[in-house]
């Protein structure tokens, strides 16, 4: 046992030393807050005219690197599926949390519509202002989880959530396939670019972000409802 522990200590020491060395090298080479890469300058110059998105991050995430985003969605889907598989089913005799009390119930009713509006605002303005499908989707999931915290045991329509999630994911791929059908590359932005900075601009990018937002929101809301539903053993 002693030998195994000393080996482990040595490995931890080596790891910590390597991490410190890495951080020192990075800290010595780059000034805090300065961009070390050159490709960013090119994209900053070309993106507004090429994609019509005022938010350059969205132009990169959906325009230049759309297939990476598709992979990201797939990763999230796999993770949520695996979590659902590990969590398993709710036991018959599991206990429920008590109701949230007056303050939580009242503020859940108040927060639900506000959070919905904020979530959809962030999703739909993803190509104009900071934000987008992933951030807005998480806020949507939170909006649907807060009433569940206030009133534990509310039945959740898992079938509907899965259907919405599947449709949103399919919509993302179909938009990509349509551009393939028209003779362009997969997921190339289409439609009119419109006026830079207005809500209806940047062609298909807002539609793609809406699909991403709905998918992420449905996925995480379903996962949170599932985790909240399974309970610990009675102790």
């Amino acid at each position: 046992m002693v030998e195994r522990r000393s080996v482990r200590d040595l490995a931890a020491l080596l790891f910590a030393g390597g991490l410190a060395f890495l951080l020192l090298v990075i800290g010595a080479q780059f000034v805090f807050g300065s961009a070390p890469m050159l490709i960013g300058q090119e994209i900053l110059k070309a993106a507004p005219t090429e994609t019509g998105a005022a938010n350059i991050v969205t132009a990169v995430v959906l325009g230049y690197r759309g297939i990476d985003t598709l992979g990201e969605i797939a990763i999230l889907f796999t993770a949520a599926t695996a979590a659902g598989l590990v969590l398993g089913k709710r036991r018959e005799n599991a206990r429920r949390d008590p109701d949230g009390g007056f303050i939580l119930v009242a503020s859940a009713d108040l927060l639900f519509p506000l959070l919905l509006v904020v979530g959809f605002y962030i999703i739909l303005h993803g190509h104009v202002t900071p934000g987008g499908g992933f951030q807005g989707g998480v806020i949507l999931a939170a909006a649907f989880f807060i009433p569940l915290l206030a009133r534990p045991g509310t039945p959740v329509n898992h079938g509907g959530i899965s259907l919405l999630e599947g449709l949103a994911g399919a919509a993302f791929i179909i938009i990509g396939l349509v551009s393939l059908y028209q003779g362009h590359e997969f997921l190339r932005p289409m439609l009119e670019k419109g006026q830079l900075g207005s809500l209806i601009s940047a062609g298909t990018l807002p539609l793609l972000y809406l699909a991403v937002g709905l998918k992420v929101g449905a996925e995480l809301a379903g996962l949170l409802a599932h985790i909240a539903d399974v309970e610990a053993e009675e102790s």
């Binding site: 949390d97 009390g101 007056f102 939580l104 939170a142 985790i227 909240a228 610990a232």
Partner: protein, 102 residues
């Protein structure tokens, strides 16, 4: 701006160390999400508002929620109703928290 960054880093360090020292699970989780919130402010300072929103929504909100529910799944804490109050029960020790005087 440098002063602000130093202040945020100090808050981050204090919160990160208190995660290790706090005995109350939920308090430790709250401290962990304070670290994420501070990081998201640093992202704003670095002019990366998109990343800041992701960090605030996912790091501070969603991941601490999932951690809290995971710890409850393991039976490390649970909510109980005692009269008019909600009680936060820990395994090993009982910590009372008034959340409702209705």
């Amino acid at each position: 701006m440098e002063l602000l960054t130093l202040l945020i880093v100090f808050v981050m360090l204090v919160a990160a160390i208190s995660v290790l020292l706090l005995r109350n699970m939920i308090a430790a989780l709250a401290a962990a999400s304070v670290v994420s919130l501070a990081v998201s402010i640093i992202f704003v300072v670095l002019r990366a508002p998109d990343v800041a929103m992701t960090e605030a929504a996912v790091g501070a909100g969603l991941s601490s929620l999932i951690l809290a529910l995971g710890l409850r799944r393991l039976g490390l804490w649970r909510l109980e109703r005692g009269g008019d109050n909600l009680l936060l029960k820990h395994r090993g020790q009982d910590v009372q928290e008034d959340t409702d005087h209705g």
